[in-house]
Amino acid sequence: MKYNYYPGCSLEKNAASYHISAMAIAKPLGMEFVEVDDWNCCGATEYVSLNLIASYALIARNLALASKNEETKQLVAPCSACYLNLRKCDSYMSESPTLAEKVNTALAAGGLSYKGGTLKVRHLLDVVVNDIGYDAIAAKVTKPLKGLRVAPYYGCMIVRPKLGQNGSFDNVEYPKTLDKLLKVLGAEVIDFPLKSHCCGGHMTQISEGTGYELIRQLVKGATDYKADLMVTLCPMCQLNLDAFQGPMNAYFDTNYNMPVLYFTQMIGLAMGMDPTDLGIGAELVDARPALAKIEIEVPEPKLVIKKPPKEALPMPSLPEEK
């Protein structure tokens, strides 16, 4: 099946392994992704905190670009925040004529337009479990993840809130699709009570104590349940749980050591793919000991030492206004 694909900024770099693994499993599972041409950032949760119409126009530019594709009206996003933003914009533009009119007046300034309801916005997990289906995936499993104890972690924005007529593709409080998928892959799946709790999003930047506490609870939960690793479906969740696990440990004087991988990487592994072809090895919390348990060898990751370009060093100032 063909889909418009909206990677989102995170998948360009920090979560490149999510993108790589999604692409690797696409073909064997029969999904064809067409990247939305010249897509722009969806604004995460930040743009809407400052400007309402501009934030919806920013998102709607992507919807307008994707809707030009006559071959498919499906739009899939692997990032939960992008997914929610795209879905919300589509749904509110259908429900509120005033909003739709303003957004379209703005879009017209760039020669674009969008009608709410034209596209069907989907999360990558939804597409995998509902379009491809558990049975088709089971048929492709050649190396079941037997003996691996995993904590499925959904986070919030993939299942909440309910919007429009379709609501949410999984239960808003107790989602089960990822659990079921991981079972199909042969893993031992714990009934993770915190599975749809929030990891804090950008909160580490605003109030580190609040942000780290949310991360700590999740990592502690998975550790208490003796999970070998946590499985995510959102680049921001992965960043918080994996990259911020070290700073969180430093903050609380703890020494949690919980690897975090993407569900697409788990599918690839169960299909017998090479871990390096799935981007495994880019985690800050080493996933190799956990994978060694099921005899998956991951080579020592190659370190890329690339100097930043001179003019691009992150400095504490805003880009200059023209």
Partner: protein
């Protein structure tokens, strides 16, 4: 939902109270008028402990017309957009969306107590408005240098890790249609100003 028929008109043209102002500035049907002060939202909130007011208390303040008090509260800035309150509210109040509305109002009226959160949003948006794309990690280091220069040392290990694993971008990619995007955003802001 049961409350659908007693909802206030979503498109209030001339708000007569702070409550109406908030409703008018929130997209779609916010159902804020229907809050019954049950407290389910506060009980569901992961950031509750750090908030000056629970969402419930904030909505009581809005109803009482305490505009300055409300906009000075740190509550909206501590909202992590988890939508738990929104799916649990018995009255279908669009709580998370209202938090965004309150942030926008506070920024517009320049009445917030701590500039850290609005600053993070502004830095983020600045990249998007100039490149069309963001790069969350570079942005985080920038934000941290500005607000917590000593924190940077604590974070150094993570930064080095992200660089050596090839996960750190130093500049966002610039999209081809930047002129078009700028035109769209400028037009949108014009419309925003008259709204």
């Amino acid at each position: 939902m049961s409350s659908a028929n007693i909802s206030p008109p979503s498109e209030i043209k001339h708000p007569k109270s702070f409550l109406e102002e908030v409703i008018a500035a929130t997209p779609g049907e916010s159902h804020l008028m229907n809050c019954i002060q049950c407290g389910t939202c506060g009980g569901s909130c992961p950031s509750g402990q750090d908030m000056d007011h629970t969402p419930r208390a904030l909505f009581a303040m809005i109803a009482a017309g305490l505009k300055e008090h409300t906009l000075k509260s740190n509550t909206p800035w501590y909202c992590v957009s988890c939508y738990y309150c929104t799916v649990r509210c018995p009255q279908s109040v669009h709580i998370t969306d209202i938090m965004y509305t309150l942030k926008r109002m506070a920024v517009k009226e320049k009445i917030y107590n701590d500039a850290k959160a609005p600053d993070f949003s502004k830095t983020f948006i600045n990249w998007v408005e100039n490149y069309g794309r963001a790069f969350e990690l570079g942005l985080m280091s920038m934000h941290m240098l500005k607000h917590n220069p000593f924190g940077v040392f604590k974070m150094a290990g993570m930064g080095v890790g992200m660089v050596t694993k090839g996960r750190m971008a130093f500049t966002p990619t610039r999209i081809k249609g930047m002129d078009g995007l700028k035109a769209i955003l400028n037009k949108a802001k014009e419309l925003e100003a008259v709204a």
